[in-house]
């Protein structure tokens, strides 16, 4: 048999029917994650056709996008004041009830950002096909699964048939040699990759991150990398499973146990690509060359080292429009640029290790005067863990807001948003115009850079903070 990559093995194993001259392949979906914003119209399609959910046990629901992250009321509940959000929440509750789908409801133990809870609950496992009506589903590829975002019509397809029609994507290896220097994070790595290959550089491809630097990453760091594959236009991003993957999964609520675990492990160890397996494209990057990165424009590919300057794109209309929106000039340094808000959160950087990094900088320090800092854990489980470690106190004492779990200011549809003209350093994944609020201007960066900026009140390099208080 021809040597196969990780992607090819998963693809082949999930073909209900291979592609023909007339029709694309039919791919079986192992795990389907849904949330309140991209599912109501899909359930409506089911009702219109009078159909049931084919495999309700393969779909898991959470609430994250339009839900508020404001602190709980005296009754212990998270108050939802926006009637439209309340309606989406009610809809998801009734749809899950009616069709027998497991739901992690707002404020409940397992609730959180869909791409944070999947891995955390052990739902996300190597070798699976995983889809969700959300483009950052690529996050789950960190476990050696094939995971990608779909639209609402496809959500309906999966609910009704557990399958999708898919044309086979191409493969691209991103070989990352060397080691990240201290103070340079997984976020900086993926921002550097996107800056290198471009926001459309991965179009039509599944990226596989591989190499020495990738093996050295923790599972949470791998999730940060895979999360932003979509920002390079890629269909998905993935990493071969290894001992770090298995250690992370062992004992998680939905991870296999005992005999099933042993069998799973045996199967998972066969997933990595065969010797001699070929990719359609290859790109090489040396992690040792990288510095902390920050974006200056209105897409995630517009990124430079934090000590760099806004590049001069000449007359390119797209860059000029971006810089106009950002209120920046070519040649302007980014360090020291004042900001109004720092947002630490999102499915890219809201896991416990991200919060620990931020807390490490904020501990014993104060948020700069006039600055608003939001720290939003990715899930209720991350929140509990952070509180058990006293991180919430660190954030509060520094002057930051400590929130309930959700997407929060990453998407500005839940009450958390920038005001027009405000600047933010954000650990999220999109600096699109208006993404964090109409007229808001976003610099994407790592939790370290965000925390250092919170202290300085302007864009800062965390590596220069040496005055341990």
């Amino acid at each position: 048999m021809k040597p196969r990559t990780l992607f090819e093995k998963i693809w082949d194993a999930h073909l209900v029917r291979d592609e023909t001259a007339e029709a694309p392949a039919i791919l079986y979906v192992d795990l389907h994650l849904i949330h309140e914003v991209t599912s109501p119209q899909a359930f409506q399609q089911l009702r219109d056709r009078g159909l049931r959910v084919r495999r309700p046990e393969r779909t898991v629901a959470t609430m994250d996008h339009s839900t508020p992250t404001t602190p709980r009321g005296p009754d212990g509940r998270i108050p939802v004041t926006d009637p439209q959000a309340a309606e989406q929440i009610r809809r998801l509750e009734s749809n899950c009830g009616e069709f027998g789908i497991r739901l992690h409801a707002l404020g409940s133990e397992g609730q959180g950002i869909v791409h944070v809870i999947g891995p955390e609950l052990g739902l996300t496992q190597p070798g699976m096909t995983i889809v969700c009506g959300d483009s950052h589903t690529s996050t789950h590829g960190a476990f050696g699964s094939l995971a990608f975002g779909i639209g609402t019509t496809e959500v309906a397809h999966v609910l009704m048939t557990q399958c999708l029609l898919q044309s086979r994507p191409k493969t691209m290896a991103i070989r990352i040699g060397g080691r990240l220097h201290p103070g340079v994070t997984a976020k900086d790595l993926i921002l550097a990759i996107i800056a290198r290959i471009g926001v459309a550089g991965g179009t039509g491809h599944v990226l596989e991150y591989t190499g020495e630097a990738v093996r050295a990453l923790s599972m949470e760091e791998r999730m940060t990398v895979c999360n932003m594959s979509i920002e390079a236009g890629a269909r998905a991003g993935m990493i071969e499973p290894d001992d770090a993957t298995f250690e992370y999964l062992a004992g998680r609520p939905h991870a296999p146990r005992e005999g099933a675990w042993d069998r799973a492990l045996e199967a998972w160890r066969r997933l990595p690509g065969d010797e001699g397996a070929r990719f359609d494209r290859e790109v090489s990057i040396d992690a040792s060359d990288l510095a902390p990165m920050i974006t200056y424009g209105t897409n995630p590919g517009m990124a430079v080292p934090v000590s760099g300057v806004v590049p001069d794109g000449g007359d390119l209309p797209t860059l000029r429009k971006a810089l106009d929106y950002m209120g920046l000039e070519p040649g302007q340094p980014l360090l020291g640029h004042p900001v109004d808000v720092v947002f630490i959160g999102s499915c890219t950087n809201s896991r416990i290790s991200d919060l620990r990094q931020a807390a490490n900088i904020l501990k014993g320090r104060k948020v700069a005067a006039g600055l608003r800092v939001l720290v939003v854990p990715g899930s209720q489980a991350v929140k509990r863990q952070a509180e058990a470690e006293g991180l919430d106190r660190v954030f509060r004492e520094a002057g930051a807001e400590w929130r309930e779990a959700g997407c929060s200011m990453c998407i500005a549809m839940n009450g958390d948003q920038l005001r027009p003209g405000q600047y933010a350093v954000s650990t999220s994944n999109r600096n699109f115009e208006g993404r964090q609020g109409q007229g808001g201007r976003t610099f994407l960066a790592s939790p370290l850079t965000a925390a250092a900026t919170a202290v300085a009140g302007s864009i800062a390099d965390a590596r220069r903070i040496t005055d341990r208080p």
Binding site: G149, G151, T161, T203, A260, A264, N299, T318
Partner: protein, 202 residues
């Protein structure tokens, strides 16, 4: 879905690269549970000022854009979020086709499922379309061509299956639902595997 064969309309050009789905329809308009009426919020942040008044310098607000069904956009159109609200909003506004040098994958898939035709052309032809914006163009799905009076004609790629579905007005779901036997057979033969064991929590 209504079959699509010919789209003949004036074009309107928005030649900016990487127009993302947050620009096409900002997230604050996604707090809905239906798909109707989203055209109002198409390009909302570009179309309206802070007070909600139309910005007169934005191309969709100009009189010559009224009724145009073909949008000529810059490269990598529809990148970003998977929100299907983006093609819903474009269709509700009256667009039937988007022409670009590159269209993001999820947006493309969503567009095709709703009868919004993604047309990818070479940069040189695209430049001519931008130049002749406001003129009439004809898209022939059967022939896979786009033609304008001044700019000549270009062919565009489309998967045979997608083309067939659009020409016949068939949706993908109908096709998928007919595969029940193959799906059931797959479920019987595919090793339950770790995933399946895990999902049932056993």
């Amino acid at each position: 879905m209504k079959p699509i064969r010919l789209i003949r309309s004036r074009t309107v050009a928005l030649p900016i690269d990487n127009i993302d789905t947050d620009v096409i329809i900002p997230a604050r308009f996604l707090k809905v549970t239906t798909r109707e009426g989203l055209g109002r919020w198409l390009f909302a942040n570009w179309r309206y000022d802070g007070a909600g008044k139309p910005k007169l310098d934005f191309v969709l607000n100009r009189p010559e854009a009224a009724g145009a069904a073909i949008l000529v956009a810059g490269d990598n159109f529809g990148c970003g979020s998977s929100r299907e609200h983006a093609p819903w909003a474009l269709l509700d506004h009256g667009f039937r086709a988007v022409v670009s040098t590159g269209i993001a994958s999820i947006f493309r898939a969503n567009a095709l499922k709703n009868g919004l035709l993604p047309v990818v052309v070479e940069p040189e032809y695209h430049a001519r379309l931008v130049e002749s914006a406001g003129c009439e163009a004809t898209i022939d799905l059967e022939a896979r061509t786009i033609t304008t009076a001044s700019g000549g004609s270009a062919r565009f790629p489309i998967e045979p299956f997608d083309r067939h579905c659009l020409l016949q007005g068939i949706d993908h779901l109908t096709f998928l639902l007919r595969q029940e036997e193959a799906i059931a057979a797959y479920e019987r033969r595919a090793a339950p595997g770790a995933g399946l064991d895990a999902r049932t929590g056993s």
